[in-house]
Symmetry: C2
Subunit: 524 residues, 2 copies
C-alpha cells in the first residue's frame, strides 16, 4: 500500500506557488475556490490580499509585479470573476508584467449540467493570456503550476492563466506527478542580429535607440546612454511603459508623444530605429487621414531583445562591443529648488507642485489622462522615483496599480495621480488600501468630465459635443465627491482648490502612515 | 451619378436601431466610438444613459430588457470595455434578456499595428453572446444591425454583439446595402411533442410543471394553474428567473431551493417533469458527494417551449386541448394586514417589514444573497409586483438592474435589495440613478462579510475559516459606509439599525422622487 498524504489538490497548488517564490495572492474567491481558501489557511507564508472587485485584484497584481519583479498569484471566481479582471490583465500584458491567474471552475463532472455560473473560461482567458491551461487531473497540479510560473516569468513577463476545477482542488493528492515542461531562459539576440546592430550604430546615420521593458531601469539606461553618446544616437522610450526609473541623477529619456502630429514630428529625422525591448511606435488610435505608423518613410527598423531575449544583457553586450566609455550622466538639477506656484489649482500648477514635493524613491503611479499631459516633463528633475503608467489604455488601472505597488514596496511612498473618470472604474481599491494600511497618497484630478473625449470628438473630426454627446462625456451632474466615497471605504481625504492647500495636504499626507486621498478640484 | 447622402456609417447604425424600436442606449464610449457619439447627437429620439463603468451599462441593459420586453443598445469601448461588461451580460444571457451590444473597434487598417488597446474582441464576446459579428464594410451596416436586433428579440431573448470598426463608423454611407437575414418567428413545439405532453398530463402520474422565462408572467401563470389543477400537477419555477409577476391576487409558484438537500427533497416525489420555457433543475455548484441533477432517479423529463418556441402560446394551446376550465385563482391575503416586527434589524425582520410596506406594482430587484433567503416566501402575499433576480450568479447585478428597470418603467417604484459584498462590484450605478433622477430605493443588507462564503466553506467540507480565510471573507476592517459612498455619487441615504427606523426610512423614501439608499445594519 502506498502512503497517501492528507494534502488536497489545492494544498499542492499553494505549496508549488510558494516553492517557486510566489508568496502574495490577490483574491476575490467564491464557492468553487473554497478549498483553495481553506488551503491558504494552512499556508501562513502566503500573503492574501482581498480586493472587493476583480479589476482591483488583477490591477494590483500588475502593480505588484512591476515593482517586485516577480509575479503574484490572483484567485478569481469562474468565468465572470475572470471577465471582471480582464481589463487590467490587458494592461498587465501590455506592461510585460508577470501574473499567474488561478481561476476556479466547477467540478469537472458538474460542467455538463451547464449550471448558471458555467461559462467558457478558456476562451475568455485567451485574448489576455500568453498561456492558458485547465488542470486535467490531480497528477498534473504540480507540473502545470510550475509551468504557469515559468511562463509568467519569461522576458517580457507574461500572463499565465491556470484553471482549477473544484474537484481537482478538493481531491486527495500525494503531490508529485508530472514534471514541469522546461522553458528556455532568456538570452541574447542572435550573433547575426547583434553584428547587424553594431554595424548600424557605426554607420553615421541619424539613429534613434528606443528602449522598452527592462531597459528602462537606471542601470541599463546609463549603459544605453553611453552607447548612444558613443555613436551619436539619441534615446527614446515608447509612449507607455510598465516601469521607468528616473528623476534627478538618472539618465533622462523622452517618450514618443501621444498626439499623432507631435509623435510624427519627434521621429521625422530618424533614418534608423534600433529597438531594445520595445516595439515599433504606432498611433494609439486611428484618425481619418492620419498614418498608423509613426516612422518616417524609409526609416530602417532593427529589433533587438524581443520576445525571449534579455534587454539588459543586450545593452551590456553592445556597450562592451562598441567600447563605449563611461560618459558623465546628464545629471539633473535637484528638485524643490524653485518656488511653488500659487493660487487656483490647474493641471499645470498641480503637477509643478507635485514635482517639487515628491519624496525620494517614491513610486509614481500615473493614470492622469488628459490633466497629466505635462506630468512627465515636469517630474524629469524630481527626486529619483519609479514611474508606472497605464499601458494598455484600459482605464481603471491607477488605483489598483498603486495598491499592488504598495504591497510590493512597504518601505516606499506610493503617489497615485488619478483622473476622476477613470478612477471610478476601480474605486474599490481604496478599501484594500485601508485594510492593508498602505502608504498610498491618491491625488484625484477632478475635472468632472471625460476631458480627453471632448478633445477626441474633435480629433476624429466629429465636431463639438451637443446635448446627447455631453450627456455621455460630462460627469458634473451630479458632481462626484471623492472625499465622501473614500471615507465610505475607510480612507481619509480632503478636497483642495488652491496650490497652497494642495501642497499642505500633500506634505501632511506624506508624513503620515496609511492611505490618504486628495481630491484636487481643478479649474477647467 | 448616384446621390450620396451626408450620413456617416454611425448615423446609419443609429437610424437602423431606431427603425427597429431600439430607442435607449446605455453607454460608456471612448475615442473609437466618437463618431457614434456624434451620430447620437443628431438623434434626439435615442435616449443615452451614461454608466461610469461597463458593468453598470450591461447590467442596466439587462434590467431594462426584463421590464421593457425589448432590447436596449449598449455602447462599449473596444475589448476592455466589453470585458468589463461581460459579467452582467452573463447574467442577461441566463435571464433570457435581449441585448444589442455595439462595441467599437479600431479602424480596420489600424489593427495590424497592434496598438496598445487592440485585443481580440470577437473571442471575448463569444462566450456571453448568441451572435457576434464585425461589420465588414459600410454596405453591411444596415443589414447587420437589423440582424443583431432580430437575433436579440428571439425567444428567449439573446445577446447579440455587433463590432463597429471606427472607419466603418466614420465612412460616408448612402444607407441601403444588403438585406437583413430573415429569422424564424417563435412558434409552438412540434405536434408530436404536444401530443406527448397531453398524454403525460392525463396519465395520473405525479407531475411537476416547471415554468420559466415568459411563462412566469401573471396571465400565463393563471393558464398554467388551470392546466395543473385540471390534471393534478403542481407548478414549480427554477431557482433563478429573469422576471416573475407575483404577489396578492396572482398565482403563487414555488421555486427550486438553492440548497442541494432542500432541492432534492422538493423534487423527490416527481415521476415526471414537464418543462415550459425552463431547463432541467441542476445544482448551482458541485459539492463533494452530492449529485448535480436535482431530479429523482427515473423521473421522466419532457421539454416544451425550448429555444425558438413561445411558452405563452404553448400554455394557451395546452389549456385549450385539455379543456382546462377556469378555476378560481389561489387569491392571497392582502399585504400589510399583520403588524410590523420591531426591535433590532435582522434579515428576517427586515424582509417581513419590506413585504408589508412594498407599494403596488413595485419592481423588486433582488441581489440579497444570503440575507435574503426568506425574501421570496415573505413577499408571496405582498402587493402585486415584478420580481427580478440575479440569474447567472455573477455578482454585481442588483444596482445596475434596478437602474435599467427604472429607465424602462418611469411610472413604477423600483426597490433593490442588495447584499453589501455584491453591491461593491457595481456601486457606480448609484451615480446613474442620481443623474437620471430615477425612483429607486436601494436597501443595502449590511452584514459586512461575504456571509454566503462562510457557509459555503463548510458546505464544501473545508471547515471553518481561519486567519487567511477570514481575511478573504470578512468586510468589517474597515467597515463600509454606504451612506457616505452614496452621497459621494449624489444619492441621499440613511443608515438604520432597527425595524422601526427601517420602516420609517422606507416609507419616506417611497414618498419622495429620485433615488434613495437605506443602509440596513443587520445584527449578525
Amino acid at each position: 500500500m502506498t502512503h497517501h498524504s492528507a494534502l488536497s489538490g489545492a494544498d499542492v497548488l499553494c505549496d508549488t506557488l510558494l516553492d517557486h517564490g510566489i508568496d502574495t495572492c490577490f483574491a476575490n474567491p467564491g464557492t468553487s475556490e473554497m478549498h483553495f481558501v481553506a488551503a491558504l489557511d494552512r499556508k501562513p507564508a502566503m500573503r492574501c490580499v482581498l480586493g472587493l472587485f476583480e479589476g482591483v485584484v488583477t490591477g494590483a497584481a500588475d502593480g505588484y509585479a512591476r515593482m517586485a519583479d516577480k509575479p503574484a498569484a490572483t484567485l478569481l471566481h469562474l468565468g465572470p470573476g475572470l471577465a471582471n479582471g480582464l481589463a487590467n490583465l490587458h494592461n498587465a500584458r501590455r506592461a510585460g508584467s508577470p501574473v499567474v491567474n488561478i481561476v476556479g471552475d466547477h467540478a469537472r463532472h458538474h460542467l455538463p449540467y451547464d449550471a448558471p455560473l458555467t461559462s467558457d473560461i478558456e476562451t475568455l482567458a485567451r485574448p489576455m493570456s500568453a498561456w492558458v491551461r485547465t488542470i486535467p487531473d490531480p497528477s498534473h497540479i504540480q507540473s502545470d503550476t510550475a509551468t504557469a510560473v515559468a511562463v509568467a516569468r519569461g522576458k517580457p513577463g507574461r500572463i499565465a492563466t491556470l484553471i482549477l476545477p473544484a474537484d481537482v482542488a478538493w481531491s486527495d493528492s500525494a503531490g508529485g506527478g508530472h514534471a514541469a515542461a522546461p522553458l528556455d531562459t532568456p538570452g541574447l539576440p542572435s550573433p547575426e542580429t547583434m553584428r547587424k546592430v553594431v554595424e548600424r550604430l557605426r554607420n553615421g546615420r541619424r539613429t534613434v535607440l528606443m528602449l522598452g521593458g527592462g531597459a528602462l531601469r537606471a542601470a541599463p539606461l546609463a549603459t544605453a546612454s553611453r552607447v548612444a553618446q558613443g555613436c551619436g544616437a539619441r534615446l527614446l522610450a515608447p509612449q507607455s511603459n510598465g516601469r521607468m526609473e528616473r528623476g534627478a541623477g538618472r539618465v533622462a529619456v523622452n517618450r514618443v508623444p501621444f498626439s499623432v502630429d507631435s509623435a510624427l514630428r519627434s521621429l521625422a529625422d530618424a533614418e534608423q530605429l534600433i529597438l531594445v525591448g520595445a516595439r515599433p511606435p504606432v498611433a494609439f488610435f486611428a484618425y481619418p487621414g492620419k498614418p498608423g505608423s509613426l516612422l518616417p518613410a524609409g526609416c530602417e527598423v532593427v529589433e533587438l531583445a524581443a520576445e525571449g531575449e534579455d534587454p539588459v544583457a543586450t545593452l551590456d553586450w553592445l556597450a562592451d562591443e562598441l567600447g563605449s566609455s563611461a560618459a558623465p550622466l546628464p545629471l539633473l538639477e535637484a528638485p524643490g529648488a524653485g518656488p511653488l506656484p500659487s493660487g487656483g489649482l490647474t493641471p499645470a500648477s498641480l503637477i509643478t507642485a507635485l514635482g517639487r514635493l515628491m519624496p525620494e524613491h517614491a513610486v509614481l503611479c500615473d493614470e492622469s489622462v488628459s490633466s497629466g499631459r505635462d506630468l512627465f516633463e515636469q517630474t524629469r528633475g524630481a527626486a529619483p522615483h519609479d514611474y508606472l503608467q497605464i499601458t494598455g489604455g484600459a482605464i481603471g488601472s491607477g488605483l489598483p496599480m498603486a495598491t499592488g505597488a504598495a504591497i510590493a514596496c512597504p518601505d516606499r511612498r506610493i503617489v497615485c495621480l488619478q483622473a476622476d473618470g477613470s478612477g471610478m472604474y476601480t474605486l474599490q481599491a481604496l478599501w484594500t488600501q485601508a485594510r492593508e494600511r498602505l502608504d498610498v497618497v491618491t491625488i484625484i484630478l477632478s475635472n468632472r468630465r471625460y476631458a480627453i473625449l471632448h478633445a477626441e470628438l474633435k480629433n476624429v473630426g466629429a465636431g463639438a459635443a451637443g446635448e446627447n454627446a455631453r450627456r455621455m462625456l460630462d460627469l458634473d451632474d451630479p458632481a462626484l465627491d471623492w472625499v465622501a466615497m473614500a471615507r465610505g471605504m475607510g480612507v481619509e481625504g480632503v478636497a483642495v482648490h488652491t496650490v497652497e492647500s494642495f501642497a499642505g495636504a500633500l506634505r501632511s499626507a506624506l508624513a503620515r502612515s496609511g492611505p490618504f486621498l486628495i481630491e484636487a478640484r481643478l479649474q477647467t
